[in-house]
Every structure is written in structure tokens, then in C-alpha cells.
């Protein structure tokens, strides 16, 4: 994306949170240089000189401004790039742009009717695009639970979007209980924590989807059969449930501390019988 109108592509990113007591997922830009290289990430600031942050009134609303995901687009059709942003909680905001990479500091909530637009699940992931080909910007989003959702814009071209509630474009796959062996070759589609990108990948004139995900591949530890793994996992899970119950039920500080130590030890013991490979892939959905 080109944020500052200087003719060189920039890279815009959200973040989970700044490393301060006052959490907030800042927006970061790696500005492009004329020679095609990039500068180190810089915090994107508003016209007031302060970092752009989704404002919250109390810590109870913390999920509104962490785990941010921005997209630069002319949302209100005034000729300037705005920022449409997602967050942990699954809602959306937009910061009005004034051109040349300047954005007003106070965002507006993106709404569906009178209510904040919200995805099913968490981790809103905005990708504004005219998905249905009627000339205005619709909104696609990934989600923590997987799948891809879209919200249709009924406003028409050249107007501030008026979005309908999200509906599924691609449903999440079936859930699988944690603890089973999951091999890479068993995967047949995106799993959880989907992030979506839209483009005509194969040049056939139709919009396709790239969907990033997050998945934990599970295999038995070296020398262990799958059957033995299952038994060991079942025993481990029973112990896990016992210790977590103790932690949640006891009010005695010493007992709670002991239970927490037991939990840590137990958690580490997973590696005695299982390998976990936490990774993520990029899936391509070509439109027919």
C-alpha cells in the first residue's frame, strides 16, 4: 500500500500491543524508498502528533484496541486514503485520512445500521473491496475461528459505506478436538485465525482469496506409536483437568501457588510424548 502518496509502496501493519503497561496495538509503517528498499518500522501518528490508537474508556474495553489489523483505502470516497482497522474483539473502526499519509486521530466505529459491525468470532481482519461488483466497497474479514465472512455495502458508489451484518463467504471447517495426531498431509483447507487477501491471482478476471491461518500439527514423540501416544495424552489430559480445577477453585494463596507450579510442570511434560509444530500456511481459493 502507498500510505504517503510519494509514489513508492509502503508496508502497513497492525500489532498486538506496545510493550508498555498501557496496552494498545499500534499501527506501524515501513516506508518505501525511491530505490525500492524500506525504512524500519515507524509508529503511524495522527495529525495531533500522537500514535494512532483506537480509544477506550477503561481496561474492560482492552480488546477493542489490541491485536490491530489496518487496511488503507478511500473508505468515504473523498479522494484520500483512510484507515479501516480491525482488532481483537472483532469490531471495526476507521480513521479519516487527509492525504499524504495524514490521518485524523479519533476514529469512527464502522456500523451495520445502528450497531457496531462485528464479525462472528474475534480478530477482525478488514479487507475492503467491491466483492459483488456493484461499484461500492464491501468488507471481507477473516476470524479467529476460521472461515471468511463478508458484509455487503448497500450505499452505492461514491458514498460512505452502509454495511449489512456479516455473512459467511467460506464457512470454518469442522472442529477437531485437541490431542489427536494432526499431520500436515491431513490438512485440506485453512484452519483457525484466518487472515484474508483478495486479488485476481490467476488472471482470469475473477477475484480469488488468499487465506492465511494458524495450526498446530501434532505428532507422537520419537519412538512412540500413535496408540501409545493416545493413552499418554488421555492420562495427561486427566491430570491437566485436575490441576486446572484446583487452580480455579482454591482461594488459599499457598495452595493456589502450588497448583500453579504443578500446572507449569505438567504443561512442560507434554513434550515427553508429543511434538507440537505451531505454524501457519497460505491457502488459495480460486473463484470458479
Amino acid at each position: 500500500m502507498e500510505i504517503d502518496d510519494d509514489g513508492h509502496p509502503d508496508i502497513l501493519s497492525g500489532s498486538y500491543s506496545r510493550m508498555e503497561q498501557d496496552m494498545a496495538g499500534l499501527f506501524q509503517v515501513l516506508y518505501g524508498n525511491p530505490d525500492g528498499t524500506f525504512r524500519k518500522a515507524e509508529v503511524l501518528k495522527g495529525t495531533d502528533g500522537q500514535p494512532l490508537i483506537i480509544p477506550i474508556e477503561s481496561r474492560d474495553q482492552q480488546t477493542e484496541n489490541i491485536c490491530t489489523r489496518p487496511f488503507a483505502v478511500d473508505w468515504d470516497a473523498d479522494g484520500h486514503l483512510d484507515l479501516v482497522v480491525g482488532n481483537f474483539s472483532g469490531t471495526f473502526y476507521w480513521f479519516k485520512g487527509e492525504g499524504k499519509g495524514k490521518f485524523q486521530p479519533k476514529p469512527q466505529a464502522v456500523k451495520a445500521g445502528n450497531q457496531p459491525l462485528r464479525i462472528q468470532g474475534a480478530h477482525s481482519d478488514p479487507f475492503p473491496i467491491d466483492w459483488d461488483g456493484d461499484g461500492d466497497l464491501d468488507l471481507l474479514s477473516g476470524t479467529s475461528g476460521g472461515g471468511v465472512q463478508w458484509a455487503e455495502n448497500g450505499a452505492g458508489k461514491g458514498k460512505l459505506p452502509e454495511l449489512r451484518p456479516f455473512q459467511w463467504l467460506i464457512q470454518p471447517g469442522r472442529a477437531v478436538e485437541y490431542g489427536g495426531v494432526l499431520k500436515e498431509e491431513q490438512l485440506t483447507g485453512p484452519t483457525t485465525s484466518t487472515r484474508v487477501w483478495v486479488d485476481d491471482v490467476n488472471g482470469d478476471g475473477k477475484l480469488d482469496l488468499l487465506v492465511g491461518d494458524s495450526v498446530t500439527l501434532v505428532s507422537p514423540a520419537k519412538g512412540l506409536s500413535e496408540e501409545a501416544f493416545k493413552k499418554k495424552f488421555a492420562a495427561w489430559q486427566k491430570a491437566y483437568e485436575t490441576v486446572t480445577k484446583e487452580m480455579s477453585q482454591t482461594t488459599d494463596q499457598a495452595k493456589r501457588s502450588n497448583a500453579q507450579q504443578e500446572f507449569q510442570k505438567l504443561y512442560q511434560r507434554r513434550t515427553e510424548f508429543m511434538n507440537e509444530d505451531r505454524t501457519g500456511f497460505v491457502w488459495l481459493y480460486l473463484q470458479k
Binding site: S15, R174, T188, T216, T279, W283
Partner: protein
């Protein structure tokens, strides 16, 4: 963002498609012969953009680990070359506050 260990995984095998589009079955993008994948703890965030103004869009994949971004040259269609870490000012670029 950190996932609970006992959270549910989801397989995409029974993916159902709804509304306004039909898609072919999903395939994992490859870089060379190997699937594009991110480091632990996962969270792949893809993007297509023509960074070098050669008329072809590169695949950029952001990841949670160190906030690094992998860049894969586009070979046309669904083909991408093995990737390299995005550089900024001579070192591997990273986005702060991502881990």
C-alpha cells in the same frame, strides 16, 4: 492472541461455501516445491503487492514470530519462488509489538 493449548483445532475438509461466489477446493500456496509456511507460533498473514515495480505482484507473508515478513517472488499464476525475509535498512525487518 496467544492461544489456549486446549483450544479446538479446525480442519478445512468440510469447508462449505456460501453466497455470491463459488470456489475451487483450496490449495496451499507453494514457494518452489514447498508449501509457504510461517514459524512458530503460526499466524500467517498474506498480501500481494508489486514491491519492485516489475509488473508482477510479490507474495508477502507476515508472521507472529518477531513480526517478520517473508517475500516470495511471483513466477506467474500460482507459482512463487522460495522466499527471503523483507529487509529494512540492511537488516531483517520486523514490526514491533507483534512478538
Amino acid at each position: 492472541m496467544k492461544r489456549l493449548v486446549l483450544g479446538a483445532l479446525v480442519l478445512g475438509g468440510s469447508t462449505a461455501l456460501c453466497n455470491a461466489a463459488e470456489f475451487q477446493d483450496p490449495v496451499r500456496l507453494k514457494a518452489g516445491d514447498a508449501p509457504v509456511r510461517v514459524e512458530s507460533p503460526g499466524y500467517a498473514a498474506p498480501c500481494l503487492a508489486d514491491l519492485d515495480a516489475d509488473g508482477k505482484k510479490e507474495l508477502l507473508v507476515g508472521q507472529f514470530q518477531d513480526g517478520k515478513i517473508r517475500v516470495f517472488k511471483h513466477g506467474g499464476g500460482e507459482k512463487f519462488s522460495p522466499g527471503e525475509w523483507l529487509q529494512a535498512e540492511g537488516t531483517v525487518a520486523h514490526v514491533p509489538g507483534v512478538w
